[in-house]
């Protein structure tokens, strides 16, 4: 039986289905990210689990217990808010002790627990400070400590890193993951940042328009996106829309809407006659001056950008723009504007998506 089980969760605001029958399971100890653009329902899902939003339908089971109708304060779920929501009139110590006081722990035990958790988030010595006397990163740690000290069965993180600047965010990501693994707590993390989701998670649930589009490991979500939306939301991709018209040996011909024909190979048989989108990620494409083996198309370099470790190319081929990313192993871009190049990729990198 899964640790957290969500079934057919539905929420309607002003006639709009913010959550459209969402179901998913989370195993104990898993770090799951809910990833999606704003308005996709990820925060609402989190707030339903926390008990701030009453769903219009569906159920939330935690550790085998239906918690739908349990008030928030009886759920024992820890949460780190987007704004941290530290109590401004209380010190760090008082903030962290608050949850323990609600659980009627004896004074000396509270003191011990607070000291322990502060050590874990490396804030020993800051007990008497008020939140406003702390940096953003420190406030974040206090919020995390406050949520963890109550030994919650589940930890919810609502865009918790988004207020930090890039460098600090990366540091906190590592720290957060370490703490989470050490404590072994099941965690649900809401974010719109795909990179963050990819680095932190055991599993990613990609959400769009109130539904979960794909729930899988980071590698699979990135390498094997289920839909065009997922492929486009996680990283960049070149899309070729059309229908498979014929097959020669291992090579399929995709008749595109603009009339051009794309030859491609694939590990999976799309079947002649299907409408689909062929996608390939920019960094999976090889460029060469000479005709390569296997399938290729020809294109013209229209634009190049030097980006330090990589070069970005924009090419024109088959009447559309194709983006390519190459590592700069030689320190310079390989191709210049107006160069005619051969575009190819390994068949394992061909993504076959719905239209």
């Amino acid at each position: 039986m899964p640790f957290l089980s969500i079934k057919d969760l539905t929420k309607i605001y002003d006639g709009q289905r913010v959550l459209d029958s969402i179901s998913f399971d989370v195993e104990q100890g898993t770090f799951l990210s809910l990833l999606g653009p704003s308005g996709c329902g990820k925060t609402t899902t989190l707030r339903v689990i926390a008990g701030f939003v009453r769903p219009d339908g569906g159920s939330v089971n935690l550790n085998g217990i239906l918690i739908n109708n349990l008030p928030t304060y009886k759920r024992n779920i820890g949460m780190v808010f987007q704004s941290y929501a530290l109590f401004p009139h209380m010190t760090v110590e008082q903030n962290i002790a608050y949850g323990l006081e609600q659980r009627r722990l004896p004074r000396n035990e509270i003191r011990k627990e607070v000291a322990q958790v502060l050590e874990m988030v490396q804030l020993t010595g800051y007990e008497k400070r008020k939140p406003k006397q702390l940096s953003g990163g420190q406030q974040q740690r206090v919020a995390l400590a406050r949520a963890l000290v109550i030994k919650p069965s589940l930890l919810l993180l609502d865009e918790s890193l988004s207020a930090l600047d890039k460098k600090l965010r990366v540091e906190m990501q590592v720290e957060l993951r370490q703490i989470q693994q050490k404590v072994g707590i099941t965690t649900i993390f809401v974010t719109h940042d795909q990179e963050e989701a990819l680095t932190l998670s055991d599993k990613i649930a990609v959400m769009d328009k109130g539904r979960i589009v794909q729930l899988d490991t980071p590698v699979n979500v990135y390498e094997r996106p289920a839909t065009t939306f997922v492929a486009g939301f996680l990283g960049k991709a070149n899309f070729f829309k059309g229908s498979v018209v014929e097959k020669h040996g291992d090579v399929y011909q995709l008749k595109m809407e603009n009339g051009h024909v794309l030859p491609f190979e694939s590990l999976r048989d799309p079947g002649v006659g299907t409408d689909l989108t062929v996608a390939v990620r920019p960094e999976k494409i090889a460029l060469s001056g000479e005709e390569p083996e296997g399938t290729w198309i020809k294109g013209t370099v229209k634009f190049t950008t030097y980006a330090g470790d990589r070069s970005l190319y924009r090419l024109e081929a088959l009447g559309q723009t194709i983006e390519v990313e190459r590592q700069n192993s030689l320190g310079i871009s390989e191709f210049k504007i107006h160069d005619e190049v051969y575009i190819s990729w390994d068949k394992s990198n061909t993504l076959l998506l719905d239209r």
């Binding site: 926390a50 008990g51 701030f52 008030p71 928030t72 304060y73 009886k74 759920r75 024992n76 779920i77 820890g78 949460m79 808010f81 987007q82 704004s83 929501a85 530290l86 109590f87 401004p88 009139h89 608050y98 949850g99 609600q102 659980r103 406003k132 406050r146 949520a147 109550i150």
Partner: protein, 261 residues
């Protein structure tokens, strides 16, 4: 730079316009001459006369009591209302808000006499209960504005965090909402207090026969003629106002700015 000089120059002229009459009044309260004649001769004579004027002192005490009760009522009602109205959608909130500001945009003379007519319709004499209600109605918007502004600044995630950590609604109110709101409640209470203490119009219509408040007493003295102890009591009122506004300004500043950077 020239702009700044003109700006300050203009500001000073305006401030002179605002403060000169009041300053003259305060100075005259220390002038020995009964009719405020010059040259100025320092004397605390009028304060002595004032403090031996039992009727005026009683009126002042009554006004203080009325203002204190009004302030407490306004803060309690206002806080309850602002907390409760968060459960409603924005259209209902707008309706509540228009009701609250209603007494601000209706001349007080109309509110005063309509409450007097209400008493007549109910077959009641003028009484302190109705007077207090009148004071609450006109002071309420000021208290609500301050408390509401603070509550709006308060991120709702703060309360959610409290529930999340295991606190129920009452504990959350007691330990989180109330402490965070208290500076605004105090400031709102002070404002309501001042509106009520200074209120002449509502008291004038609703005061029980034979009773009086400080503004009523001042008004009738002025109409009656020129009495130097009115200068003295006015000066005391002005000084107290100055003190209170400064306190409120400090309260609001610290409550609004300290807590959220």
């Amino acid at each position: 730079m020239a702009k700044k000089i003109i700006g300050w120059f203009y500001s000073i002229i305006i401030l002179i316009f605002f403060y000169a009459p009041v300053a003259v009044l305060m100075a005259m309260s220390f002038n020995k001459s009964r009719y405020g004649a010059l040259p100025f001769e320092f004397s605390t004579e009028w304060y002595r006369v004032l403090f031996s004027n039992q009727k005026l002192i009683q009126a002042a005490l009554d006004s203080l009591a009325i203002a204190a009760v009004t302030a407490v009522l306004c803060v309690v009602l206002g806080t309850a209302m602002m907390l409760g109205q968060r459960e409603f959608n924005s259209r209902v909130k707008a309706f509540f808000n228009s009701l609250v500001v209603f007494p601000l945009v209706i001349p007080w003379i109309i509110l005063g006499l309509s409450l007097l007519l209400l008493l007549r319709a109910l077959g009641l004499d003028r009484n302190y209960a109705m007077l207090l209600i009148g004071h609450v109605v006109v002071s309420f918007p000021y208290a609500v504005m301050v408390i509401g502004a603070r509550l709006e600044d308060m991120n709702s995630e703060i309360q959610e965090a409290s529930y999340n950590l295991g606190a129920n609604e009452w504990t959350t109110f007691k330990r989180i909402t109330l402490p965070m709101l208290s500076p605004a409640m105090l400031a709102g209470g002070f404002l309501a207090f001042m509106i009520s203490f200074d209120n002449f119009v509502l008291s004038y219509f609703l005061i029980p026969t034979g009773k009086t408040t400080l503004p009523i007493e001042i008004y009738s003295s002025i109409k009656f003629g020129f009495t130097p102890e009115i200068n003295a009591i006015s000066s005391i009122i002005l000084a107290a106002t100055l003190l209170m506004i400064t306190v409120i300004a400090v309260l609001m500043r610290s409550s609004l700015m300290r807590m959220f950077k």
